[in-house]
């Protein structure tokens, strides 16, 4: 019989404690980020799709060595290059420059091999996460164009 009443007593007490907790939570500020209106800053180690890094003049740092293309286990990177002639110290030299950097993001596993393998520090992960589309062609990125767009 004593157990019966103490059960009721301690049961009710724990219920009241629970209600106290929710009462206090009610008056605390909300923590929701109102997504389309507010966005969070992505953490430093967030991996979006890859992006070319520009040098001081806004040109890609990439020297078209092709390491990233070869390292990619999914074969999503396609490079293209053209040779141009530039004058260095009065002599005319030939130089390869990047003409095309296509990323097929539909196949990318975000493994990071391309970034790891680039010895020239020309690749990085973007912080882009708002990717949505009904067509897969929208995920074939022209990174060179994106770099130009970023420069302007």
């Amino acid at each position: 019989m004593g157990g019966y009443f103490s059960d009721i007593f301690y049961g009710s007490k724990s219920l009241l404690i629970g209600m106290g907790i929710t009462f206090r939570e009610f008056f605390k500020p909300t923590v929701t980020v109102q997504y389309p209106y507010q966005t969070l800053k992505m953490s430093a180690r967030f991996r979006g799709h890859i992006e070319l890094i520009a040098d001081k003049e806004g040109k890609p740092k990439c020297v078209v060595c092709g390491m990233c293309e070869r390292a990619c286990p999914s074969g999503c990177i396609t490079l293209g290059s053209i040779s141009i002639e530039i004058e260095v110290d009065g002599k005319i030299k030939k130089k390869k420059v990047l003409s095309k950097y296509d990323l097929d993001f539909t196949k990318c596993s975000l493994c990071g091999q391309c970034v790891e393998n680039c010895n020239f520090g020309a690749l990085e992960f973007s912080k882009e996460y708002n990717l949505a589309s009904t067509r897969k062609e929208d995920f074939h990125f022209n990174l060179l164009k994106r770099l130009e767009e970023r420069n302007t």
Partner: protein, 328 residues
Amino acid sequence: MSLTLLNVIVAVVIAIAFAAVNAAYLVWAERRGAARIQRRPGPNINGPFGLLQPPLDGIKLMTKQLMIPGGADKILFMVAPVLAMAPAIMSFVTIPFSEGIAAHNMELGVLVIFAFASMGAMAILFAGWGSRNKYSVMASVRAVSQNVSYEIPMLITAITVVMTTGSMDLKEISMAQSGGFWHWNIFPSLQSPLMPISFIIFFICSLAETNRAPFDLGEAESELVAGFHTEYGSMGFGLFFMGEYANIVIGASLTTILFLGGWDCPFGMFPGVWWFLLKIYLLIATFIWIRWTFPRTTIYGLLNLSWKILIPISLFNLLLTAGLLKVF
């Protein structure tokens, strides 16, 4: 009061409007309240503070097609939502909001409300049976066993109050408590020293009667999809919803009248309908607060609570009150 046809129509229209507005905005209050407890903002896009959300939800429900599942019992299926809504509306007619505001005062008001409230269980049973859906049947059986077992302690505590007041008239019951909060039934009196406990029992039972968490075994989403209204879409579901919220308002009103002095002011000043509304909305806020605090109980826990705790204590209280009434 002469009961002309016009009177009846006006009363019913006002009752439906009151119930509908309450249902709509209690959903809003519930969602905002739940969100605050979970530290979210809740619906806040449509209109200031999301106040346009309920009408838009209503439009959405009304534009949906009413589907009747293939094997369903068509008549029961269609009758159930109406049967869930109609008694709740009818109960409003007998509730006195203040001395002058009552659609129709009846001498057996308490009895009428309990009679209508017990029809809610039938609506749930019809809905579950008519849907011909295993989840629905299971849920409705649960809900009915729950409603039946909670009606007993609820009625017993109501009888206790009726005995001390000596009337079944809701208006007279609240008049008997007028003149300051120390006259209210919730406080122990010489005849009935266990009144606060009665109040708690009554409150728990009205929570259980409305099938709300933590007693929402009739629509336990985690095990029974959506319980007895699994097969209902469109306004069929909307009617169940409105019925549920109307029942919450009825439960709060009844608690207010029986225990909290109705429209009486705690300090004996300006008694009126505002005190009544203030009290019922405070009670409803507590309903919402409780719902978002506690997890769902099991069916055993639920029935144990009723049969092993609430019924014995309320019976004891009834006997004690009866004895003390004789003495004093």
